[in-house]
């Protein structure tokens, strides 16, 4: 491997979160972004073709070294690492509304889900999956929520644009589909780095 690829490997190994291209570039001040990309490709190929148990994954706007899926079960069974705990159905539904409607207020979430959302919102916020992104101009200027880069990390997405379009879902009961925020816009409104 070329030196930059090695440097990047070391940095990704040392990091405990996805590292952006720009951050990787600062490892070697003389390098261009294109060099970093080439080096990343080299590292990725190295892992893929030389039978490594880890891979370079693009996540939440950055890169991270993760173990390959094939080993998950054994690692978990041996209690060497713990899977991220599942969210409740209420948490997932609330995330779904926020991911597609952000920035969105509590009232709208409650209207869509038909249940009060205070507790779920607080819990999601404490776990860093959502954050307050502003206030509505409406009555009482309620808080507006949006998703965080950490959520992308937990979902294994590069950005919000990777969320499927709502048209792709087959609504079993069928009929016209409710309008949702354009996912491209939503992605743009979320800060890239936590």
């Amino acid at each position: 491997m070329m030196p930059l690829a090695q440097l990047i490997e070391a940095a990704l190994f040392a990091a405990n979160r996805p590292i952006t291209l720009e951050e990787l570039q600062t490892l070697e001040p003389d390098s261009a972004l294109a060099d970093v990309r080439t080096a990343l490709d080299e590292l990725r190929e190295h892992y893929d073709f030389d039978g490594h148990a880890v891979e370079v994954v693009e996540l939440a706007g950055g890169y991270q070294i993760l173990t390959r899926r094939a080993f998950a079960e054994a690692i978990e069974r041996a209690q060497i690492a713990v899977r991220t705990p599942r969210l409740t159905a209420a948490g997932m539904e609330t995330l779904a509304v926020i991911a597609y409607r952000q920035p969105v207020g509590r009232a709208e979430i409650e209207e869509i889900r038909g249940v009060s959302a205070g507790g779920v919102l607080r819990s999601l916020q404490e776990r860093g999956m959502i954050e307050v992104v502003g206030r509505s101009e409406g009555m009482g200027r309620p808080l507006l929520y949006g998703t965080t880069p950490l959520l992308l990390e937990l979902l294994g997405l590069r950005d919000l644009g990777e969320l499927p379009r709502t048209e792709e879902f087959t609504v079993a009961l069928h009929s016209h589909k409710p309008e949702t925020a354009d996912s491209g816009d939503a992605a743009a409104s979320v800060p890239a780095e936590s």
Binding site: R17, V57, A89, M92, A99, F169, S175, T180
Partner: protein
């Protein structure tokens, strides 16, 4: 999304069904479940039947969730009433009151689908582990100190010097001189028919003097040797020699006549001298 389906109980058919409401994430979820169980076309929901089933289901409800479900129950009942209103076929401008409910159900159904997708995404992501999280190292304890005996003793002295000397309160008993006061009062009584409290105290009395004098006065009054008279509340009282057993009981008298009555012998003895 982990458990979109409620326990496989036959809703509606059996009156004694069991619905575990924890299995539902809200009233819309329960409603969708009822529709699915009955294989109902969402475009033509039999509101009356569904409303009754919904009400029956929330009867089993734990009260912690009641508000959200009751609100939906209220909506359904209102819809049921609206559907009962007579209308002419093909009437212009009639809007199906179920429309809003259908819209919400479809929207919620979509949310459920999205949530399911997110769930699968997180599950997939959880199959890959990042490097283990390393907690920050704890602060190392300071290295052991090396010092000679003199340094140690100096340090000990310093520490001891900084101990504040404790503030001690010693309680000094100051015995009351009741006997002395009694003698003094008896002497004054022998000299004068009456005198005031202040005169009885004498010049510049200490607290002990005041207490001793008071006790002596009360004791002498009890023996019937004197009377304490107070003209009004808080006024200084007057000490008057008592030679005969009191006949009138002045309301202001502090001494009672009881001791005299109860101990006539003693009283007589005292009066005699």
């Amino acid at each position: 999304m982990t458990s979109p389906l409620a326990p496989t109980s036959a809703l509606g058919a059996e009156p004694a069904f069991v619905v575990r409401l924890d299995a539902f994430s809200g009233p819309l979820d329960l409603l969708l479940h009822l529709l699915r169980e009955e294989q109902i076309d969402i475009a033509d929901i039999p509101i009356a039947r569904i409303a009754d089933q919904f009400l029956a289901a929330i009867h089993e409800l734990g009260l912690n969730q009641a508000a959200d479900y009751l609100e939906m129950a209220g909506r359904l009942l209102r819809l049921k009433a609206q559907m009962l209103l007579p209308r002419r076929d093909g009437e212009e401008g009639w809007e199906d009151p179920r429309h809003e409910l259908v819209r919400r159900l479809l929207e919620y159904q979509l949310v459920r689908e999205v949530a399911g997708w997110l769930e699968r995404a997180t599950e997939r992501r959880a199959d890959q582990f990042p490097r283990g999280y390393l907690p920050p190292l704890p602060e190392l304890p300071p290295p052991p100190m090396t010092l000679d005996l003199l340094q140690l003793l100096n340090a000990v002295e310093k520490v001891i010097a900084e101990i504040p000397s404790p503030v001690l309160h010693r309680v000094v008993p100051r015995p009351l001189d009741t006997e002395g006061a009694t003698l003094r009062l008896e002497a004054m009584l022998a000299e004068r028919e009456e005198f005031t409290w202040l005169e009885a105290l004498g010049p510049r009395p200490s607290i002990v003097d005041v207490l001793s004098t008071l006790l002596a006065l009360l004791e002498l009054a009890k023996r019937g040797l004197l009377r304490l008279v107070q003209s009004e509340a808080f006024a200084s009282f007057i000490i008057r020699r008592e030679t005969v057993p009191p006949v009138d009981s002045a309301p202001a008298a502090l001494s009672t006549t009881d001791p005299v009555v109860l101990e006539p012998a003693d009283d007589a003895a005292r009066t005699a001298d």
